[in-house]
Symmetry: D2
Subunit: 369 residues, 4 copies
């Protein structure tokens, strides 16, 4: 069976890797545009601390987080160890010891269903600063030891390479869905028609452009995120936990190379406007320095830009399109792409190949109203 996977961000590369493991003959088509959410993204794998109240989203996210360590191990088995993944833990910050206690209790209650959360610990301000020295003094923290961070650019490339070595073909080019008489027949990549038994659209924020030949438009729009990278000389930041202020959607995480990443704007309505703006930069810096004033004297390195694929609600758009055989859509992961991506990609592969699914996709229908 020949499967085309369009897009090789975190969803598409995971899908392609899963599909080769399931025995499919796989072609990956990647347009390699600037602004791919995966490439800009700095991933914190910690769904348990989320304030999202949608139970379908939460269950899906937790399953995705649970599946991560096995993915990392399987990539290591095929020689892919440089994926920026480390189980560094996360700290949810609050100004009040009272709120800290409530948060810790809330997390503890979630832990029964998610033992992979690891230890939940209430840290006093000094302990919190020991783990993440630039923090403003006075923050109480709840530490979740099982949280991890990952580099989206590295892990998606590693999965794509692994898929390639397992037999997948990679083509670079713009892709459009191809139909004949209303039937999905394959994909036009550049000017070349590639036929397939099934197509997975892991096309992120660009999904509607890909689907246009089918006269189909789903509820996906790009949301720009601007993400600031800050260097800290030769400081060993490799074990610093992810930082999740309890009162904001901004966050921080650190990579091995003495670098802290602070994100991110959530610019709904941005379109595909690939620019760093004074307003975005000021917002991210203000939030980061409010939480971690110790970063003020670091080195500004760069700002990355990604266009998150935002659906009509918080849940992914994942599954088949009724009435349009041989097509599976896998997008809409919003700001949780690096957590949910590998799992969503695997499900998309199974769905396209007719394998058993670990989850009911009804709540994730890509054409839900």
């Amino acid at each position: 069976m020949h499967l085309i996977v369009v897009g090789s961000g975190i969803v598409g590369s995971a899908c392609a890797l899963s599909a080769t493991a399931l025995g499919a003959d796989v072609t990956i088509i990647e347009s390699d545009r600037p602004g791919r959410a995966t490439s800009a993204g700095a991933g914190i794998i910690c769904p348990w601390s989320s304030r999202v109240e949608d139970p379908d989203w939460y269950t899906f996210s937790c399953a995705a987080a649970r599946a991560y360590p096995a993915l990392i191990d399987s990539l290591a088995d095929v020689g892919e160890t440089a994926v920026g993944y480390r189980r560094v833990g996360a700290m949810v910050l609050t100004d009040s010891a009272d709120q800290q206690a409530k948060i810790a209790q809330h997390f503890a209650a979630r832990r029964d269903a998610s033992p992979e959360m690891g230890e939940i610990a209430a840290l006093d301000p000094d302990q919190a600063r020991e783990l993440f020295p630039p923090l403003r003094p006075g923050y109480h923290a709840v530490h979740i030891s099982g949280a991890a961070r990952v580099d989206g650019r590295l892990i998606s490339a590693a999965m794509r390479r692994a898929a390639g070595r397992a037999g997948a073909t990679v083509i670079v080019g713009d892709a459009r869905l191809h139909l004949t008489g209303g039937e999905v027949e394959g994909v036009i990549a550049g000017t070349q028609l590639i036929e397939a038994d099934a197509v997975v659209a892991a096309t992120g924020a660009w999904t509607n452009e890909f689907l246009a030949p089918a006269g189909l438009s789903i509820g996906i729009t790009p949301q720009r995120g601007q993400i600031v990278h800050i260097g800290l000389g030769l400081t060993d930041t490799s074990r610093w936990p992810a930082i999740l202020p309890s009162n904001s959607g901004h966050y921080m995480l650190a990579f091995d190379d003495s670098r802290v990443v602070a994100g991110a704007t959530r610019e709904t309505g941005s379109g595909f406007d690939y620019r760093v703006t004074p307003g975005g930069l000021a917002e991210v810096l203000r939030q980061a320095l409010e939480v971690a004033p110790g970063l003020a004297s670091g080195t500004y390195l760069e700002t990355r830009i990604g266009f998150r694929p935002m659906g009509p609600d918080i849940r992914p758009l994942l599954g088949p399109v009724p009435g349009l055989e041989h097509l599976v859509i896998a997008t809409g992961l919003g700001s949780s792409g690096l957590t949910m991506g590998p799992y969503a990609g695997e499900i998309a592969a199974r769905c396209a190949l007719g394998a058993e699914l670990p989850v009911d996709l009804t709540p994730f229908s890509p054409v839900r109203p």
Copy 2:
């Protein structure tokens, strides 16, 4: 007479150009280090609006501003028209109409002595925004039509080129003062001794390093400035006035190429630490967006860094060093370098060559306590 000018920032290049005009045989030595204040600087020539209360400083600044148009004309005469200079005016901003009236009155009083200020006009908020559209609504402005802006990098290069075509030699290399038996004999450039009848140290923040062989240390320290450049698409910003908020040391100006420059930090104690910092960037952006929120959706282009040479007080360090013949120092212009630099350079040349001086240098003694 052979004159060595060390440094070819705005002071040194002006000095070299003046000295060739006075008939000297000139050698310019330039170390071309990152962080030269002239290269980073965005110059607003508008001393009349300053809140500095030192009369020597004010008189000197006004004379420097008065001399600018003739310099620009003389550069044009030798084919140097691309110096980033334009008499665009400046707007001093205030939130209150009362304060606006006081400011306007204050400026009007200064205008008798400085007719080159041009027209003083009180603008209402709409008029102000017409001239500088990104401004926050509500600012009252006092407009000074004679103010100008200049690009430090371009004008200093133009003067250096003009000096070169008038006979000056340019050498690239690190320079140290050279003395024999306590007498200034010339300069060591790299490993080469260059003898001269006189030496002008236009060495900016690096002056003490240059003077070390004389056992001399003057009161100069580097003060880092971070300056943000913002693109505005294809907007014609070439005639936008400089912006001087009355309640802050920050400022803005615009160049021809759809670019607004917002500055600057004043980081005393920075040393020569050539880095863009999250703290500095956040400060400059916050101040700029507070004054001109319309810049928020522009394009962040770059941040430039300059080390201002700061003296013990606001006045330049300009003139001979008692007891050390054949040496003239010309530095310490702080954040007014692009206003005062050409004039200070000319005076340094005259001083070194024994020509008549337009001003008494006593208050500017480089070794004043």
Copy 3:
């Protein structure tokens, strides 16, 4: 009369400026894409040395060169002096004194019709190196004193600004021709319809994309040029002549800021592939260092990329499209865009506005076979 000019490269901006002078109400639409030929280009205005044998091309080029000084003056009159233009002369190089004599004779013969060529001088190798020191010893040169160089990015921006101050409106966005019932009605910019009495397509290599709604495709394709910029410290390169080896299509020129530009690849069939390639870079560097080995120890600064609009032959595509009223096409200037652009733009404006033309456009028909 309302004229839309699509594109604000050198042709479009000149067209807009001319049209405002002719009294039209002008709207400029610019998509501001990477790879505009004007922005990458380093212009040598010296058609008289060309080996092109097409008399229509030659006559047109010479007229364009002749018109340049007046354009520069008129821009200076409205305060636009920073356009990178200087009449620095050009040197055609050859290894043989015999060939030098022939070349000089050939140029002398052309000079009667084109007195603006200035002086024609045969220089021996030492003289040639005095004017352009990095040259390989041994080159005989024929010097044409009337040749000039210009910075495409600067002069087109200056003309656009001048047009703007003369009343033209500038809109940023992708543009498509709009027709109703086969009649040109205006342009869709982004999603907005702008109606006009006439439209000039100064759309360079992207012309067919713009014309698509008319079902029209003309013989224009993009040809990639890679152009290398080399820094020379503080050397005054502002008066260095343009370099035209007689046995290659490569060239060199210098700008004021101690910079030599070496160009360029001519990559037919490149499409719009905006990348610097090892092959292109190696070719340009090899050619430049063969001619001027003294550049080897300079500083590599950057490589710019432009997509030249190449027509079916050497002549511009300039004029109306029979059967499609209210549309004028002005493109296809190939590698002579910065020489012919302002003149072609002015003619396009006159053509669109029904003013008298200085030249018969028949040989330049944009739909010639």
Copy 4:
């Protein structure tokens, strides 16, 4: 015992890591200057193919190569898996099948003493291009399966981090040796004196500057290397072998991220002139495209610059300085730094701490004539 290690390139970071393992209290001082050889370098670990005829060098290199896998494993054990290391093999290229046979025989003869060379295989041109597709057709290759490549920047940072977590302190600053009465007492870092029982100078090309306070100058000079990075879209280059043309000192290797690195110039006498030059770039590109013309249409990414520490001959400068107790020098690895660095660092640590040495250091005396 307190050991100061000056420099945290590959030698210094390995030294610090070894010293912590040996129980020392370690301080690392790093000046973090541009042009560190380790940071620019692309390491090929394949001493067996060298044409160097110095037996001490060869024995040392082979021992260094033999020790690499255990180092990689030990780093993985402490969570440092992203070091750019992969045992990808190497191909020595030749135009002639005869020479291929001789080379293969030569390598086979070396293999008895160095079983870690892995398999030696003679590959025909098609086989060679299968492993490294951009190669020019016609090359005969000898493949050494045990060769590896490593990223100097990543592995030195990983060792420094591992040393830090094992107790070492990292200080950023310029360092000078400090002596009292002719005795090494420690190091001045910035303005701070740090005392120590022993000091290792892993100071690369900057060693003489560090040693100056001791009145000591050894035979080390900087040799600039310019190294070009070429992107290949989404091609999986992670398993491509290193390329060693038999008739040139240039080489190529590939990293995981679709990137080929081509090196390098060997610019003796360059001093610390941190610039990319047209001459250097042209040389590296010409050599690379001669061997692998398929790279011509890749994407030029960047050129890195490193200053190799070159000694008076091919051998490292490693060991104590007679008459100057408590000082060990470890530099002079030339273009083999990434092969020999970890081993040299370990020996320097053992030497400084008085532990048993695996090799007689006499031939490596840093003060040999």
